[in-house]
Amino acid sequence: MREEPKVRERVDALVGFVEVTRDLTERRKEQERALSDAQALKAVNAELEAFTYSVSHDLRAPIRQIEGFAKILEEHLGDSLDPQVEHYLHRIQEGSQQMGRLVDDLLHLAQLGRQHAKPRITQLDALVDQVLTSLRAEILERGIICRVGALSALECDPGLMKVVFTNLLSNAVKYTRRSEQPVIEIGQLVTDGIPVIYVRDNGVGFDMKYVDKVFGVFQRLHRAEDFEGAGVGLAIVSRIIRKHKGTIWAEAAPDKGATFFFTLGTEAQQAVTASG
């Protein structure tokens, strides 16, 4: 009496089960494929970051040695130093110092890759103020006008976001060096209900046909003699924005300045993206 329905139940379930099993198998295979692809990608990325880290780390010693021995040689030769020899020795030192900065930037980028964003509600105004204070000497000296609009408190990692503003604002300061009256604006728009932060300058700007390059590592749109830098700053910025599930884009024109816009993903947006 009690066993019969159970058997029937099993038989019924089994009939339906054949169909369902086939479906699930397909689906599971897909899921497994997607998972193994994601795992492989993650492993490759981790390996690449470890490689970048160890290369940039191991390059530090030989760079220091080249610079150091050139310096010591210069000091040893002292007053008897031929001006041409002195010039060459300075070139060696400049080259190795430049390489040292590059390697430090690269190391910084690799370390960022390993770091997880720890978001909390952050007053962006306060971060911008801190960064502008650190750039105050050049801003005052060159009479740069800084207009800071009202910025929201957003959920983000304050340390990483400070790196974002430091890079964007020091770029703005750097690339307005030839502007008669440099102006830097920091503000916020709202597009589709999402806050968009922007940093605008009226500096040298760039041609929009190179816009895909500005966020790449070691990509530079200006000659080193005109504007110094290794081409790592915006790559760092873009990586941090990605860590926050946000987006970054730029608008610019030659000699008409550049504007960098970014959004930060919120928990709610991430949930929508994940389920969609």
Partner: protein, 159 residues
């Protein structure tokens, strides 16, 4: 060998970095008081007066040992652990001098009893200044550990 004037033992396997460190110490007349060893085993032989350093006298004691972390044979951490494990040597101040600034390495160094952890700056001027300060601080400003006898009386219970 005459080791009476040796105050700093520098364990550095890179000949180039060793030269740069000695040149930096020479600026403050401390190179003469520095002896360079090139791997972990040689470091311990020097400290414990054995092997090629069997004839060395332990007096006066070293004022400081500067250890690179990446040493051949035995690395800096292993050397550090060994020196801190013996009552005769555990009071000698040890400075880890390395290119790593990874938190895990810094923490490990201190946990093993390092007295200081210094990262080698990549820029040479900063490197030279760092080495000068390190040499002056540990060989002149800092009070050397008490003599061997006092150290032995302070010997803690066996571990």
């Amino acid at each position: 060998m005459n080791s009476a004037h040796i105050q700093m033992l520098l364990a550095e396997d890179s000949a180039s970095d060793g030269d740069l460190i000695l040149a930096s110490l020479a600026k403050v007349s401390l190179a003469e008081a520095t002896h360079v060893v090139h791997d972990g085993v040689e470091t311990l032989d020097f400290v414990f007066c054995r092997g090629e350093y069997a004839d060395r006298s332990n007096e006066p004691p070293l004022r400081v040992i500067v250890l690179d972390v990446k040493l051949p044979k035995l690395d800096g951490f292993e050397v550090l652990r060994e020196i801190k494990a013996h009552s005769r040597t555990r009071l000698i101040p040890i400075v880890l001098l390395t290119s790593s600034n990874i938190d895990a390495d810094i923490a490990r160094g201190y946990l093993l009893g390092a007295n200081s952890y210094v990262q080698k700056p990549v820029n040479f001027e900063q490197f030279r200044e760092t080495i000068r300060q390190l040499g002056l601080y540990w060989m002149t400003t800092n009070e050397a550990p008490p003599s061997k006898h006092l150290a032995e009386r302070l010997r803690p219970a066996p571990e």
